[in-house]
Amino acid sequence: MNTLKGYPVGLIENFDLYAPKLVDREEYFSPGHRACQGCGEALAIRLMCKALGKDTIIINATGCMEVISSMYPTTAWKLPWIHVAFPNAAAVGSGVEAALKALHRKGRIPDRYVKAVAIGGDGGTVDIGLQALSGAMERGHDLLYVCFDNEAYMNTGIQRSSATPFGASTTTAPAGVASMGNKTWKKNVPEIMVAHNIPYVATACQSYPLDFMNKVRKAREIKGPSYIHCLSVCPTGWRCPSEACIKMGRLAVETGVFPLYEVENGKYKMTVSMPENIRPIQDYIKHQGRFRHLTPEQIKIFQDRTNLEYKKLLNKIEHSKSWGEMSAE
């Protein structure tokens, strides 16, 4: 698959070939964990940890990643790691951050910067954890929250979440004679985070590792709240071959279903340039069993809404200004 086709030539030729050599060789999320073959989420976490580096504390919501990485007495985590429950990673993260602040001030921990990073799946973030997330972001903790969105409750067996895309068949929103599967549009949580007026919000995907890692690094540097929504392909739940993980992520972006952008101090920017004409969603959904049942009419609804959402985003990218620019006007 030539994903570079149609992309503008970068400033440095073959940048994407050489850049991976600059990535930290240290593995903070070690192999031997129990994730499924082709798990996009485990890959994304490995990349995230490399970008974050040693001085990081991970706060993990219950979910696939917690279960596959921390089966007592083993752990895949070489970073300090804490898990409490499903809906509260952002709240536990608030506490970790507050403790770091207080203990640092009182000289009870070494004098250097340590970043608190809370992570959760889509269920733990956009459904049951949304209140805790909103609270943590609104209070302005120095906390990065990364949502690894595989678009359903995969850990409990592919139940529908509010991040499940239109038309997908799940075990609680199944396709059938009287049902087209999930009837609702994916909840736009990055936009909800933007509405919290936090300095940095971004979307990402494990299929664009450098883009994702750059965003993680950027968020790490922000001494305040930040949010990254990382689409994480789940071959098991999406009903696609495990080797298609990277390809599915690329197609999600190229079809405009999941564009990669960031919102820095209010200003929207596309971080992975998109072709002038986005590919039809058919290219993306035809590989996935969860969309197999969709009729041409339903696919048209899906396509039209995708186009609209993409236009809405382009409009923001074109017209948004950063808070700094607006204050200076």
């Binding site: 040693k54 001085d55 990081t56 504390i57 706060i59 917690e66 279960v67 921390s70 089966m71 007592y72 007495p73 752990t75 985590w77 070489k78 970073l79 300090p80 790691w81 804490i82 898990h83 409490v84 429950a85 809906p87 509260n88 952002a90 709240a91 536990v92 993260g93 608030s94 506490g95 970790v96 951050e97 507050a98 403790a99 770091l100 602040k101 207080a102 203990l103 001030r105 009182k106 009870r108 921990i109 070494p110 340590v114 209140q131 805790a132 909103s134 609270g135 609104e138 209070r139």
Partner: protein, 392 residues
């Protein structure tokens, strides 16, 4: 030693918590505990306490934030009541499982419904089996003392468990009493800076709160039970030290006028104070009745109970909660079970009363004691009885 001062008990609880120099406080407003976090935020705002005060968006997040902070090595404090405690319920048992010494002030209030903001013990009883140490205060001085003792007990390396200090909503939280406030240097001498056994920090990475398969879950549960049972030793040791330093003695069960008592009333919380007046009145009339005040609810003081009830013919247990469709009040059912194997045990009467803030008067106690004392022995006794309920 200390400083005598009249103050609302909720504010005193906050002052006592502040004397313990918590690093992180996370709390959410709910009547009747609210004055505790309110006053703590005042103390932080005045610069008297160096702490991070997190205005969380729910009680679920209050306890979660406390756990994150405790996991990162901070001394933590929270306070709640009733529905707030139930909103924390998901996290309660995880706190004890992770052995994080969270200290909580619990302004006891009835569980809805119907909606009611006043006192009874149904909130804590619903969380009885979550592995927390539970202390019950019967007046303001005990609230102050237990609050400070709580940090020492919870953080002890032999314990490392969360702890709740129960103070009756309104009856204690909103009452002004004259109390003795320990001085900062006295508390500092009693309670050293918290040094966690383990914490999440890049200098010593560890994984906290991992997944346990059936192969290890039973062992983890047994270990937690052993920890809370063994915490008794530390609790008694801390109480001894408290007496040495501050002169006030604490026991799992406090006896009042039990010399030669044939009848004994057993209470938990603020009603013990009212019961004392009733006991005084009856003793003056020559009635051989005494009072037992249960202060340590978990770990349950079996040995103390057996000792305290020796020679008692009739034990009257007062409950401020009911186990619906079960064995009556939770305190009485605990005591029945504790005394079951004893070769000789007192006859037991269980009254359930004082629910949702219903007043408990001296006259009520006298009436209940008299009812037991003067009862027709031939008539079969109810397993438990709701006292003072109209329309029955």
């Amino acid at each position: 030693m200390g400083k005598r001062k009249g103050m609302e008990i909720a504010l005193a609880a906050a002052e006592a918590a502040a004397l313990c120099r918590p690093d992180v406080i996370a709390a959410y407003p709910i009547t009747p505990n609210t004055h505790i976090p309110e006053h703590l935020s005042d103390i932080v705002a005045e610069g008297r306490l160096d702490a991070e005060f997190i205005c969380v968006e729910s009680e679920h997040s209050a306890l979660s934030a406390c756990m994150g902070a405790s996991g990162a090595g901070a001394r933590v404090f929270t306070a709640t009541s009733s529905q707030g405690l139930l909103y924390m319920a998901e996290i309660m048992a995880i706190a004890s499982s992770m052995r994080l010494p969270v200290v909580m002030a619990l302004g006891n209030r009835a569980l809805s419904g119907p909606l009611n903001i006043w006192n009874d013990h149904s909130d804590i009883m619903s969380q009885r089996d979550t592995g927390w140490i539970s202390l019950f205060a019967s007046h303001g001085q005990e609230v102050i003392d237990m609050m400070i003792q709580a940090f020492r007990i919870a953080e002890d390396r032999d314990v490392m468990l969360p702890i709740n200090v129960n103070l009756d909503g309104f009856q204690l939280t909103h009452v002004v009493e004259v109390m003795n406030f320990p001085l900062q240097e006295e508390v500092d001498a009693f309670l050293p800076v918290y040094k966690p056994y383990a914490s999440v920090h890049p200098d010593h990475p560890c994984s906290m709160g991992t997944l346990a398969l059936p192969e290890i879950f039973s062992e983890a549960t047994r270990a937690r039970e052993a920890a809370i049972v063994n915490s008794r030793k530390t609790i008694l040791k801390v109480w001894d030290e408290w007496e040495k330093q501050f002169g006030r003695r604490y026991e799992p069960i406090e006896s009042y006028k039990m010399e030669g008592a044939e009848f004994a009333v057993l209470t938990m919380g603020s009603m013990g104070e009212t019961a004392e007046v009733a006991i005084d009145a009856l003793r003056e009339k020559g009635v051989p009745v005494g009072l037992l005040k249960l202060k340590l609810w978990r770990p349950f003081p079996y040995e103390d109970l057996k000792k305290a009830t020796k020679g008692v013919k009739s034990l009257i247990v007062m409950d401020r909660a009911v186990s619906f469709g079960g064995p009556g009040g939770p305190v009485a059912s605990e005591i029945r079970s504790a005394l079951y194997d004893e070769p000789s045990r007192p006859d037991l009467t269980n009254y359930i009363f004082g629910l949702g803030g219903r007043d408990v008067t001296v006259e009520d106690f006298i009436a209940m004691i008299d009812k037991v004392r003067l009862a027709d022995k031939k008539r079969p006794k109810e397993h438990y009885e709701f006292y003072g309920v109209r329309g029955e």
